[in-house]
Assembly symmetry: C2
Homo-oligomer: 553 residues x 2
């Protein structure tokens, strides 16, 4: 039963007490110092006594544990704070024929447990995206019938600590991700059981979305999105979701990596605002001591102020809040904004081109570094490969006017195209994919009337603005523009949109104090994730999504 | 006047229009295709016409610009969207004798402007933490008296685009950070002026905090913190603040770097909560459509649920909200939490040791990679060097009981030490620094009564908990613990603290569904920054700080 693996942590040589702060070097002895030392020696003596006693207790307990485990395959003590043998846990993904014959220790969930008569139990042990088959076999003096029964009765999703010998599998095990070895168990402890009925199994939650109940698989129950979200903790355990959230973290990481390489600095701007900013209608109000505050709809104002404060190039990753009573597949009341803002030297296309470079970096990074995770998600959510243009021709860019022309050519009446609504956006996405073979493109030069007050108008045609949207699969994922850095023009544009400049005084002041020309954009993290993977609902791209009807879990 | 520098961006060969989407490869021609092509050709013809016209306009405008600039040194057009010559801007920090005789283009703020008679103006041009001296000298047919007057009148903090020849300085220029060269200006454009009076100068805001008005420097006005925060955009332009926020970003970056190396994954948990969590008293209430929501005091519940969802090791960087009506030097109503949570194999000290490794990584990283920024801040905020223990002895750790003993030995009555209040924490910091020569230490094993309901009690002494606080300079910067992963014990501990388990059902459910033993901690980003640098007030470590009395700017 000795563990042949080298321990990651050395076994604790000292009794597992908090290391004493005494015994440290101190300066020249004085009377009070000597008194203190005597005290300390007394303390040390007592500590040693206690430690010896503790060691004895530990030894007894360890012995008892072993008995308990080998006799009853029982439950581990709730908290292991008094002993620390330092035995290495082997990740399930690392189990391979190389370890044949070795004893390993694995912490995993019981995905399935099935008795074969009264002499054997098959267990499927799952650890995140990996799983292995384990066998517990009746053995004189080692594994009793009672143990077999106990193991067969382990509830699905229980967490166990399993000790076993790695054995090459006689034939590939299709029910596990580790197919070439199985574990022959020598010990099994319960770390955490379930106190409630499982709302659905992780296996069911991981099935391909299009699969319907069939005669061959009468047991299968399709798990609806609402059921999943109500029991998100179980839903998140699927192989698919483990991959989805690795990809989510990956997007954030690629975003930062690119921008830090371009001289951007990360900032954190306050979400609590003194005034309802940007557009009064869709802001959450907060009780703030005896007054009130509002939740930021984006870091727009703060990041522009950071530019007025000479930060030159800033980015922020943080929550943004939208009080829109909209329950579509692509709206949430809280999501993660990937925002950036930068000073412009000559032309706002400097910003647009940097943003394009950023997206290409993210797309390439996802495909190169997360191919396994993308494949995993595809199994549950079959999707067309996400396409973008590489090479010297560069990303497809066209103007709002040209976008309208494309839609008109496709049969949409021009008089319905003062703005491009969600439906026509999607239509445009299909037109573009058919014509240019890309799912990623940029629309530039939006009409001024469609953009917020802080958008810079074109210097030659003030009905048009220096602004752009980026699209993935026909849905907007970034909105950005050159901003107005001139306080007088900014105040004028506020008035035109019915905003009293007095209500945004601290923001306006930033530009009165001198600010370079600048521009930027804001990306919805969950939207990028949803559209890249075709998850079809943004809630699947959020750990614990929030919408007008959902504040829990 | 030609720029001898290689251009970063190639000059735009095409007219600066939005690239046309037409002309792309399309599949086999059909009747409608041919019709379309004719249309496209017509479009292309028109575009070419427009482009030619545009090029002419641009040329006229560029010529006008040059005239304008050389004649009047005037204001640049507000937005440069129609021309993009692609001339490189040289960062002020890169100006050096190597460039002697070369013409460069610099965008910078006018920190000071002083006429020397009617024939010369000295300008101090500042760019973030760097500055250079520039001269404008009367020259027949090139620089008129009117220009000299205009430049001498430029308001402090105006942003200019300056073209000039780099010249070796005859003697070191003490008033600038670039001391060995000066710029002899050939052109000067105003990019952004001021529409308001400057509340204080950036020079004054950058002076050492202890400096008082003296007879030698009768002009100097000490800028009070409130004045700074009311005009944060100007205050942030100081060399000190530019460094402070590079350090803030640095801490976040080191935090992520260490944890990603340890297999942690970044998560984003919702700030909008359905219930007032953790402790009802200090939670902000939000109007949520027809109901209400609450702002998360920390990602505590969500990150534990992520562990129950098999994420194993998670971290989050995000805002946390505290509705405490407290206006101390170390409290804000919103700050950035650096949070982590991880599964435990054997002992909660696995978490404590990982957190210790994390802090050492951050301290070492700050000292090694940000030495220049730390020095910059020290000039305004003189501080004792932050000390921590390196080498085999490791970080100083002691138990809460031992901390109490240290205070009792120092003269604090034991009966006042059921808890260690802020004052005694600071006292302990001084004792520890005197005795152990460190500003960084860990206190372990807090009494259960002092910790939140989700804290795991010690298995042998339930009055004590498996929890710890980390300290810098006698102030708490991290609080953490092993958490209760057993639903029954968790519910029991809720009841003991007067919380109805029903009110936290989705959280409790996570543990009913099986959860591994786990622990973690939460770090206040601004506190770490404040204490490392001894900024003395946490507001200085926040871009736009929020407290009960401040919601703006």
């Amino acid at each position: 039963m000795a563990d042949p693996q080298p321990s990651q942590q050395p076994p604790s040589q000292d009794p597992p007490q908090v290391p004493a702060a005494d015994g440290e070097a101190s300066k020249g002895p004085s009377k009070s110092e000597l008194k203190k030392r005597a005290k300390e020696e007394e303390k040390a003596r007592k500590a040693a006594e206690k430690a010896a006693k503790q060691a004895e207790l530990d030894a007894q307990k360890a012995a008892a544990d072993v008995d308990f485990a080998t006799e009853f395959y029982g439950k581990l003590p709730l908290n292991q704070s008094q002993s620390r043998p330092g035995r290495k846990r082997t990740p399930v993904a690392c189990l391979s024929p190389d370890l044949d014959g070795q004893t390993v220790l694995v912490r995993a969930r019981v995905q399935a447990s099935r008795a074969q008569g009264s002499k054997m139990v098959f267990l499927n042990l799952r650890q995140r995206s990996d799983s292995v088959q384990a066998l517990l076999i009746l053995a004189q003096g080692k594994v009793s019938k009672q143990m077999i029964k106990w193991a067969a009765g382990l509830q699905t999703e229980s967490i166990v600590l399993a000790e076993g010998v790695v054995k090459k599998a006689p034939e590939p095990i299709n029910s596990a991700t580790v197919q070439d070895v199985e574990l022959h168990l020598t010990q099994l402890h319960l770390i955490s059981g379930l106190d409630t009925k499982l709302p659905f199994t992780v296996e069911d939650a991981n099935r391909p979305e299009q699969t319907q109940q069939t005669e061959e698989d009468p047991e299968y129950k399709r798990v609806l999105l609402d059921t999943r979200l109500n029991n998100r903790v179980v839903d998140l355990r699927t192989e698919t979701n483990q991959a989805v959230f690795k990809l989510q973290a990956g997007i954030g990481s690629l975003f930062r990596e690119f921008l830090e390489g371009q001289g951007f600095i990360e900032i954190h701007s306050p979400k609590l605002q003194g005034a309802a900013t940007e557009s009064g209608a869709s802001v959450f109000e907060v009780s703030y001591f005896k007054g009130k505050a509002f939740l930021a709809q984006s870091p727009q104002l703060a990041k522009q102020m950071a530019i007025a404060a000479d930060f030159e190039r800033v980015y922020e990753i943080g929550p943004v809040f939208r009080a829109e009573n909209s329950n579509t597949h692509r709206h949430m009341t809280e999501f993660i904004g990937l925002d950036l803002e930068m000073a412009i030297e000559e032309h706002y296309h400097e910003v647009m081109e940097l943003l394009d470079g950023l997206f290409l970096h993210m797309f390439r990074g996802l495909r190169q570094r997360y191919a396994k995770e993308i494949d995993t998600v595809r199994k549950q959510f079959p999707a067309d490969e996400f396409k973008w243009r590489e090479g010297p021709e560069g990303t497809l860019k066209f103007s709002f006017k040209q976008a309208v022309d494309l839609l008109v050519d496709d049969g949409v009446p021009r008089e319905k195209l003062d703005d491009i609504d969600t439906e026509n956006e999607k239509r445009l996405g299909r037109i573009v994919r058919a014509k240019y073979d890309t799912d990623y493109y940029i629309i530039d030069k939006f009409p001024m009337a469609l953009r917020p007050f802080y958008t810079m108008p074109d210097s030659e045609d003030p009905t048009v603005s220096n602004s752009y949207d980026f699209f993935m699969r026909g849905e907007e994922i970034l909105s950005g523009a050159q901003r107005v850095h001139d306080a007088a023009l900014l105040a004028e544009q506020m008035r035109q949109k019915g905003i009293n400049p007095e209500s945004m005084k601290p923001y306006l002041q930033a530009f009165q104090l001198g600010c370079p020309p600048h521009g930027g954009g804001g990306i919805g993290l969950e939207r990028v994730l949803m559209l890249f993977l075709e998850l079809n609902n943004i809630r699947r791209a959020s750990l614990f999504p929030r919408d007008p009807k959902r504040l829990e879990p």
